[in-house]
Amino acid sequence: MAAPTDKITADRPEGAPVVDFDLSTHNSMESSNAAWDALRTTAPVAWSDDNGGAWIVSSYDAVTEAFRNTDAFKSGRAVRGRPGPGGDPGLMPMNAVPAKTTSLMIPEELDAPLWHPYRRVFANLLSPRGVEALRPRITYWVTKLLDDVIESGHCDIVETLTSGVPGAVILEWLGFPEEDWHRLSAAFHNMSSYIEGAPDAQHYLDELEWAFQRIREEVTVVRAEPRDDITSFLANTVVDGERTSYEFATGMVNMAMSGGVDTTTSVASAAFVHLHRYPEDRQRLIDDPELIDSAVEEFLRVYPPARTHGRTVVEDTEIGGFTLRKDDRLIISEVSACRDEAAFPDAEKFVIDRFPNRHVAFGIGPHRCPGSHVARAMFKEMLVQVLERIPDYRIVEDELDEYPNWTALGGWSRAPITFTPGTRRL
């Protein structure tokens, strides 16, 4: 919680409000959200000695300002003051707090100018027009995976649909063999939610390492002999007339897979839990399907998958009246910005037709999630088909499992449902 602390570190900046804010202690959405609300309303820009010592930026205005200032706040993997690929892997942009090493993510962990050509590759592939090419596959996989369970009257909607659909769509697009899909999806899904020191943590880390190993193997194969798939396209990216390095090629596929397979899962699972708990919202969407587009945005605002990101300060820069010093780390909270009353009246309420809804669930500024359009397309198709085909589903509450860790990502590990059996479409 945001309470004064007596701990002293040499790093602590003079004059900054010092709070005790350990992100990793929050093991439920409710407690994590409450902590962010308390912090934001008392100290929207604050210093915490936790998490290795870092600024925490939590108001909508400060968050959007920080994300947009890519000259001062860098995304490159860093030791303090030395951002850039090849730095100490402990501090990564997607891990606000020091975390286990994972493979490089391109372009998320690059800064301009190196970032530009790699961002262009993803922007082009995943533009609204690019996503149109994927739409038939999205419809197919939602239909097929619902078909697989619809006659039974029960399933785990996370495994079947919200994890299953992004896994199938993204891994098919990338060209990974179907026998790998389930294990790869599970590896990223479990990585999002493991707790350091928990009994199964080592297993999840081993599985994640296996996933990165599979990526390295496929990249090696398609750099020697390209196939007609996105892994081949990414792995053979040409920048300034030369094919990119093997390290960057794997980094691009790492990014596409880890960004693609489990993030949409988080918000879609949250939406199905929400519609179980708030039947009046479910009924409104059934009665008026035109509300689905605004509902998608409001689900994103209220249940943003990525809750925080980290950056490194490379030049002294003022935010919210305080000077963030060169070499400081900062933690930027998307979830807190999305809950800021100053930007969203009645922010604590789910308002199905909220407008405008300039949420930051996909981040903001140049590093805005380039997969947002495909994420929205997958999420919307899941919502549409569930409300059409199994509109009376109920969640088995006592078997519902939240992620045990709401630091960087939030979500549901498991959400068993029952429903009136329906008919297959394929």
Binding site: T64, R68, R120, A123, N124, L126, S127, P128, R129, G130, D293, F355, P356, N357, R358, H359, V360, F362, I364, G365, P366, R368, P370, S372, H373
Partner: protein
């Protein structure tokens, strides 16, 4: 009614396109770089929604 695009602010969220596909055009990378010279009266409500939806505040309405 015209709409001015601050192209250096656009980050490709494409919320303008979602609100008013008849009004806004994105380039091949999904970014909006083109001012809209004349919004037809029947599209002005949708166009205003597109402007208000931009999370980067990249769009401004210029009334004639």
């Amino acid at each position: 009614m015209r709409i001015h695009v601050q192209a250096d602010r656009c980050q490709g969220h494409a919320r303008c396109l979602a609100e008013a596909p008849e009004v806004f055009q994105l380039n091949e990378l999904g970014y909006n770089t083109t001012d809209v010279d004349d919004v037809r009266p029947e599209l002005q409500t949708k166009a205003r929604r597109g402007v208000l939806s931009c999370p980067e505040l990249a769009l401004t309405i210029v009334e004639d």
